[in-house]
């Protein structure tokens, strides 16, 4: 995945701004097979901020321990709107990013269970409000694991 420094910085500052909650957003750009060139980063709202609505769309197993601090959900309506707009401008959705507040930039089991093939999943670790490591992952074809994807400037 190729992305410029300015766009990377916008992901990092979004993560820091939303701390201690999880941030999330969309990566738009051009794809040629598995090769992706990110040209826009679109910050989106974490729908877990509105627990009742989020629960209706994608129920959590344990709402007592799962919240916007360790879960994110993108509003499908917002997603559809951004995707349509991107398509009209000749751009594709290449993947998504989210932050792990006070957790390493490694995909969780929950991330894997909800992942789709092909998309890039960028994870940013935010420690005590400060953006740290940023990684990118692609789900394996059998859904069994995430493979690391190099992030090139």
């Amino acid at each position: 995945m190729q992305i410029n420094a300015e766009l990377l910085e916008s992901i990092r500052s979004h993560g820091a701004r939303e701390y201690p909650n999880e941030c999330c957003g969309m990566l738009l750009g051009h794809a040629d097979g598995a090769a992706k060139q990110v040209s826009e980063v679109v910050p989106l709202r974490n729908l877990r901020h509105d627990p009742a609505r989020a629960q209706e769309l994608l129920p959590l197993d344990d709402p007592g321990r799962e919240s916007e601090k360790n879960r994110f959900l993108i509003d499908p309506q917002e997603q559809l709107r951004v995707e349509k707009d991107a398509r009209a401008r000749g751009l594709d959705v290449l993947g998504y990013y989210h932050s792990h507040p006070d957790h390493p930039a490694l995909p969780s089991n929950y991330d894997r269970e909800h992942a789709w093939p092909w998309y890039s999943y960028v994870i940013l670790s935010v420690e005590q409000g400060e953006a740290r490591e940023l990684t990118s992952w692609v789900l394996s074809e059998d859904r069994a694991r995430f493979d690391p994807e190099p992030v090139k400037l």
Partner: protein
């Protein structure tokens, strides 16, 4: 009656790279059945083992979520566009609350 189904990027590898497919259908259920019978590899990504739509697959008719319409039974008109919108969710490991 042909209706258009928009295929999201990650699923286009199962539809011969097509970004939309036209199917003959009167309801959303018929449209998805038509789509998955034509492209059988799509089935496992859209349906679970019991043949129900997976919880993280959203289906829209124009801009309306079929959950809030008549689900599978939602009737279709000729100009309707069906969109398959994958739910995007995730999160970190749950912190161990044992001490």
């Amino acid at each position: 009656m042909p209706v258009k189904v928009v295929i999201p990027t990650p699923l286009r590898q199962y539809t011969g790279k097509r970004d939309s497919v036209e199917v003959e259908a009167k309801t959303v259920g018929e449209a998805l059945a038509g789509l998955t019978s034509r492209y059988s590899d799509l089935r496992k990504h859209l349906y679970n083992e019991e043949g129900k739509l997976r919880s993280f697959v959203n289906v829209y008719v124009n801009d309306e979520d079929i959950r809030f319409l008549q689900k599978d039974q939602t009737p279709l008109a000729e100009t309707d566009v069906i969109s398959i919108v994958p739910s995007i969710a995730g999160g970190s490991m749950i912190r161990c609350i044992c001490s």
